[in-house]
Amino acid sequence: MQAIRKFFTEFDAKKTIRITNVRILSQIFFFSLFIISIWLTWTTRLGGYPVSRILEFNPLVMIATILSTHHVYRYLGWGLLIIGVTLLFGRVFCNWICPYGSLHQFVGWLFNVGSGKQRIDSNRYHNLYFFKYAILIVFLILASMGALQIGLLDPICLMYRTFATVVTPAADMGITIAGNGLTSAGLPLDLTGLKFKPGVDDRIFVGSFWVGLMIMTLVGANIVIPRFFCRVLCPLGALLGVISRFSLFRINRDVHKCTDCNLCLTRCEGAADPMGQVRLSECFSCMNCIDDCPEDALSFSMVRLDTKQVVAAPDMSRRKLLFASVTGVLAYPMIKNHGTNTDLTFSRDLIRPPGSVEEDDFLAKCIKCDQCINACPTNVLQPASFKEGGIEAVWTPVLNFNIAHCQLKCTMCSEVCPTGAIKKITVEEKLGKGAFEKDGPIRLGTAFFDRGRCLPHAMDIPCVVCEEVCPTSPKAIQTKDEEAKDVYGNVVVLNKPFMVPDLCIGCGICEAECPIKDERAVYVTAVGESRSIERRMLLQERTVKDA
């Protein structure tokens, strides 16, 4: 009551609508947009919502994919918008838009209980902060040679990946537990609609612990160094930092008014030294310093700028620049010659989602945002570990048929992919129907039988779940039917399954449904995938001989 009265009596429109409040509003808006995008990325909700747009506005993704593919895929050109905004206002992206930045700022604000003096000290520039530029240079050089690794640290990719594989499963698990608790307490409320991924079993992601550990560490680091990730590691921030030296608007300090009280450092997000020479590449344009200046010495403006009290360029000496460049150039052959993902030797588990381009091209496009994994309705898409694609393909999407299968008429992953690593396909294209009849269906791999583990083949026990669920017509799994007398003297009919590789599309439902759960008696391997001639298996498909 009192608070409401206080609000009305002390309401000051100007104070309320001041720039720092508008900034918070913007952060809330974009963070919500991000959460809503994640929430909408689901087969029953997707519709035409642009759920990957935040990724597609990412200028680092745009520039890095241009370097690696020399083309601009679908909506990636929108990255220019952020570049334009940066040229106008500096790194506003970092403190106004970036959901990862907002998360860091929020955590830092919530837990930073230090005294004013401690805070001022923690927000001074530290020469460690150059490191993000080195990372950027290494990544961009790698990208220009064809190895796209920006996704490892790009904040938007990192955020999407974390939500896809860690946060949404955890939230859904919580709702499941709450729902089961309510049901057993006699309150059968249906909480399904609240879930990120309703209507399916709770999902699991192989190796997601490491994704979770990464974000826990990076968020936790805020307690030691505020906005550690943004200041030290963020390659997108570095890119925008390089651009923002040309920005029209910037923080300007009026030396005549300034009393060198250093209060402006209390809440400086970027450690941009507003009390001295403002570091343009570091400033997030959070505007906190303006609020904190008792002398009104600070302003965000484009006129009457003091050109002396400014450090425009990033803190990169030519020595560091050279070192980073050499690292980038050397990293490429190190990654490629590691030899875990070439056409000569590749993992049989490296099965890419339908619509994926050839592996070299795929690695030049995939930004590991795992939005495809977020969209996958069956949980078959998993972030790769070192095992499937080697060091280069960590956290790229692969199919794990132990968990589920690739749904026949689903192209969700291809629709949400921002970079075209999984190019947008239609169901007709996936199934090789309509205009795509000539190309045939998209094959993800080929299924094989392990007859030593197959129940009818090895143990005289009837089964053939694999044949039952095989979705092609005619079925790619056929059976040789025979009677046998088992050791107990029962005559049983055994439908012994075998593959017709010409018909197999590698969807993996046979493997997913095989009851030999640890090492399946039928399993799909990557060979025979239609995206690559190098990894093809059959020279040509056999046809029915007319009698």
């Binding site: 087969t43 249906d190 209507g199 709770d202 069956t378 749904q407 039952e468 005619p474 439902i509 009851p515």
Partner: protein, 368 residues
Amino acid sequence: MSKKEKPIQHPEYVKAPMERRQFFGKIAAAAGIASVAGYASFAPGNWPGSLKDETGLLSKPRHKPFQIPDFRVQKPTGVFADVGVARGSRQADGTYSSEQLARMLTASIDQVGGIKHYIKNGDIVLIKPNVAFDRSPNLGATSNPEILETLIRMVLEAGAQEVRVADNPIESPPDCFKKSKIEYATLKGGGRVYLPDSNSFKMLHTPGARLIENWWFFHRPFLNVDKVIGFSPVKDHNLCHASMGMKNWYGLLGGTRNQFHQDIHNIVSDLSIMIRPTLTIVDGTNVLMINGPTGGDPSNVKKGDVIMAGTDPVALDSWAFEHVLERDKNDMPTYLTLAQEKHASSPLKGEIRYEMNYEGRVKEVQLG
């Protein structure tokens, strides 16, 4: 004391000896904690309040099984048919008019007593279609959405307060419900869709079942349900020859159900005693003749133009096997025989017959 005391520099270092009361308090607290903890951990397991677990079995997770009631309804007096069959023709373009479907459905149910006899005012009705795969409706792999919509309308008109539609498909549930148009048909008809997720399964106890005496069951849609109607297509099935009204209930099982194919006939016949539906409706309009149960090509489908409804799923399946799927009587799936036997020995058998022999129990009507 003449000796001059030194001023105390640090007041926090002043000695404060423990008082007697404080000492005894601490002793008492320690003794109390020790005795309660000691009792809980060492007293025999059957003493009240003891946590003792001598064998290690007490802490084993247990799932308290529940049972579902018998949903069957006695036929009205004077009605003798256990299976009603309605045949009707299509329009010139190969589709049915919605009136024709409604007429066929009504006619088939009327032969066994009419929907008003089975659905009472205020009932909560669960309809279980077959939505196992994400095929288009005309491919015969899933239940016909148009008939489902008609059925939901009919059940609501008969006075039901709520109609639920539920299945646990083999493929991704949201996609299967969407692509098979079952979700659309349900919402259009006025029903509610229940998708299976981790919240939805509970241990079901089925007395007399061979393989699923206790098994995970899709229980959420069954909360407070009064009547259950099975609604399935007729499909070819390599392993058990045919998937019709009884095999449809497979879609309510959870857990590692892919093991059941090792004894498919026993599991399907177990299903017939696991759930005793009010009505079983089998749709023979698009019959999947080969490549079942997934299908996928229109050439696999035969236009059957028949809808069946019955109180005896065994007779219904036998009839459909011979007359809709057009198979030889001698190849009749073993699960039908087993279902008949299991029902006969079940304590819940009641007066409604579950018999393969459908002679004289099927009533057919031919509509225009």
